[in-house]
């Protein structure tokens, strides 16, 4: 008897369904739950109000990242509201026995950086966090997605959430990518083709040689931004690259458990013959370094192209005009050569070691443009240490940059790292929404290479002109 071909997504999802409700959601067991200071306090308040405990404290991990300063972390947090949130996380995790890597802890960092870094994220898991970029962990072949605070309370109290199963989409990218094109460009390209709502209601699997040849850091960058086209999450089948990344990390299986795990992980792939609800094919050779010109991540373009006209794109004309007005851009003009004010490299999208290596490869031997303010923010203390060990720190200092301390920083500008109103920032983060990086701030999303090229020239520059 041959069994029905099954997708990676279905294999992982079906293994976690505790109960299916007719004309309703599935009750899904969650293997790992990450929490942080911003979206968890009200969930703990809910537990107290209902007099509920935490069902499996050892399956939840806490880190402080969204609302932490990126300088002088050894000093008390100045903003009383931020300090209060950090204190609440410390008290809540302590009273329920949850592991907590707070400010100052050597394991502290952005939740979606430290999870994989410590081997907490493993193939085939279900992972949630009160943060939409939880999709990052899909790079390991996990079903990972962001949830609201009510759902955080559900996971704490019952280790389950209730969600209808998403539809399935596969995005295949094959072919050779040219020099200067990074995983960030691949995902910005995909989102520009599908639009900011193009994958809403779907769970995406990324497949094809472009992803097979990508590092884990690159795969995380791609899966991270799945939510920016509306997808619940994105995932990539685990392979040798995945196993090599995980092996030896603190919480990874060891010895016989490792061999057993790898044997299971090798089964986590989509069988031949699976039909997806939607499938897209792209050619890697068509992708050039990308940059966004508007106020949602779907408004991206090849860096050498012209800003499209409302007629070119499938979106509301009024919203398109509002977006360009906010950005101070007009239709049909080039992005190349536009003066920029700030550069931000970091975030759960591009805050890993490979991203800083890429940035350093361009700024090495060059100088930061005088009028540019650059915020270089590692995703974790581990990444920060690597930056120093590999000599990247020296390259940065020599070129006139400074290195800040880990955190979400200017990606969402909850702390003091805000781009001033009207200023342009080339940012390696994930969202260019109005005011995302500070009230009135204008964000151009791009790769670490494009950010580096902008940082040393002071204008939007094609990084291919600066790399050998």
């Amino acid at each position: 008897m041959s069994s029905k071909p099954t997708s990676l997504f279905d294999k992982v999802w079906d293994a976690h369904v505790v109960r299916s409700i007719a004309d309703g959601p599935d009750v899904l067991l969650i293997d790992r739950h990450f929490i942080h200071e911003v979206t968890s306090p009200v969930a703990f308040l809910g537990l107290k109000t209902r007099n509920l405990g935490v069902m499996f404290p050892d399956r939840t991990f806490a880190t402080a990242d969204h609302n932490t300063p990126t300088i002088n972390q050894h000093l008390p947090v100045a903003d009383p509201l931020s300090a209060n949130q950090l204190r609440a996380l410390e008290e809540n995790t302590s009273s329920y026995g949850i592991s907590h890597w707070g400010l100052g802890n050597p394991k502290n960092g952005i939740v979606h950086v430290v999870g994989p870094e410590n081997g907490i994220t493993l193939p085939g898991m279900t992972i949630v966090c009160g943060d939409s970029h939880t999709s990052t962990h899909g790079a390991f072949g996990c079903i990972a997605f962001g949830i609201g605070t009510s759902e955080v309370e559900m996971v704490l109290s019952s280790q389950c959430i209730m969600q209808p199963k998403a539809k399935k989409m596969r995005i295949n990218v094959n072919g050779n990518m040219s020099k200067g094109v990074t995983p960030k460009d691949v995902v910005l390209y995909i989102i520009s083709k599908l639009t900011a709502a193009g994958a809403t209601g779907y769970f995406v699997e990324y497949a094809g040689s472009v992803f097979e040849n990508m590092s884990m850091e690159g795969r995380m960058t791609v899966c991270n931004m799945s939510i920016e086209m509306g997808a619940r999450g994105g995932m990539i089948a685990p392979d040798e690259t995945t196993f090599n990344y995980i092996k030896g990390r603190e919480k990874a299986p060891k010895g016989q458990a490792w061999d057993d795990a790898v044997e299971y992980w090798k089964t986590l792939k989509t069988d031949e013959g699976v039909v997806f609800d939607k499938e897209y094919n792209f050619d890697g050779a068509d992708i050039e370094p990308m940059i966004t010109y508007g106020t949602n991540p779907g408004m991206g373009m090849g860096i050498s192209q012209l800003i499209p006209t409302a007629a070119d794109i499938d979106a509301g004309k009024a919203s398109f005009a509002k977006s360009l007005q906010y950005m101070g851009f007009t239709e049909s003009e080039p992005m190349l050569g536009k003066k920029i004010d700030y550069v931000f490299i970091g975030s759960c999208t591009n805050g890993r070691i490979e991203d800083f290596r890429a940035f350093a490869s361009v700024v090495k031997g060059r100088k930061k443009a005088d009028h540019v303010t650059a915020w270089i923010v590692p995703g974790s203390h581990v990444v920060e240490a690597q930056i120093r060990e590999e000599g990247i720190y020296d390259i940065l200092i020599e070129a006139g940059f400074e290195l800040r301390q880990p955190g979400c920083s200017a990606c969402l500008a909850m702390n003091d790292d805000k781009i001033p109103a009207g200023k342009y920032a080339v940012s390696t983060s994930n969202r260019n929404f109005e005011g995302r990086q500070g009230p009135g701030a204008r964000t151009l999303l791009a790769s670490p290479l494009v950010a580096a090229a902008a940082a040393v020239t002071g204008i939007v520059t094609d990084p291919r002109t600066l790399i050998a």
Binding site: A15, H16, V18, R19, D23, G24, P25, V27, L29, D31, V38, T39, P41, V42, G46, R50, L52, M55, F56, H66, N67, L81, N84, Q85, G124, G130, D131, S132, G146, I147, G148, T149, S150, E151, M154, S157, S158, Q159, M162, A196, A197, T200, G201, I227, G230, R232, Y264, N296, G316, A318, S319, L412, M414, K418, R431, F433, E434, G435, P439, G440
Partner: protein
């Protein structure tokens, strides 16, 4: 969260005919520093609603007295972006109980239903007709009937049905939430979890 039961809501509506209204617009990140659920309504649509010096922007719909009601009508792809439930709390805290759009982002939709806001997804044509009806008469009444799963523009009788799964419908109608449901199946979860791989 305990919330009021949702049965039939008859109200005027506030129109926001903008596409891709993301949760950073609904409640900017700098207002997420609270450790309680209440009070976010004051900063609902903060940067569209107020100038940098905190004076109201007169052209924004929430600052226009001719519009009021418990129903917010938004453009396509409402609630995209961040998972912050604070966006739904801000909408609820301001006084809305129902959001109407032709398309919702998934997480926002879940968050809304989890706190007692009904997201009503209508066709683009019907959304246009609602906007036109409000433009013609800002106090035009909409009726949202959860048991019949219909939304009606009362002045014209123009009506459309909307989808909701029967589990969520039952919850909203009775003021129940998922935590109640999950607590009642703890033993089943416990057994399942003990046999799970991770």
């Amino acid at each position: 969260m305990a919330y009021d039961k949702f049965t039939v809501l008859t109200s005027s509506a506030v129109p926001l005919p903008i596409e891709n209204v993301d949760t950073d617009q609904i409640i900017p990140a700098r207002f997420l520093k609270a450790t309680k659920r209440e009070g976010f309504g004051d900063n609902l649509f903060r940067d569209w609603r107020y100038n940098g010096d905190d004076t109201p922007k007169q052209d924004f719909v929430l600052n226009n007295d001719i519009y009021s009601g418990q129903i917010l009508v938004g453009g396509k792809n409402f609630g995209s972006g961040s998972s912050r439930e604070h966006a739904a709390w801000a909408i609820y805290d301001y006084g809305f109980r129902c959001v109407v759009s032709s398309f919702f982002a998934d997480i926002f939709k879940n968050n809304s239903m989890n706190i007692g806001i009904l997201p009503v997804q209508v066709s683009e044509d019907f959304l246009d007709r609602i906007f036109k009806a409000i433009e013609a008469d800002p106090q035009t009444q909409l009726e949202v009937d959860l048991s019949k799963q219909t939304i009606t523009i009362l002045s014209t009788g123009d009506s459309e049905s909307f989808d909701i799964n029967s589990y969520k419908k039952h919850n909203l109608t009775n003021g129940f939430d998922d935590i109640d449901y999950l607590q009642a199946m703890k033993e089943e979860i416990s057994t399942f979890a003990q046999n799970s791989r991770y």
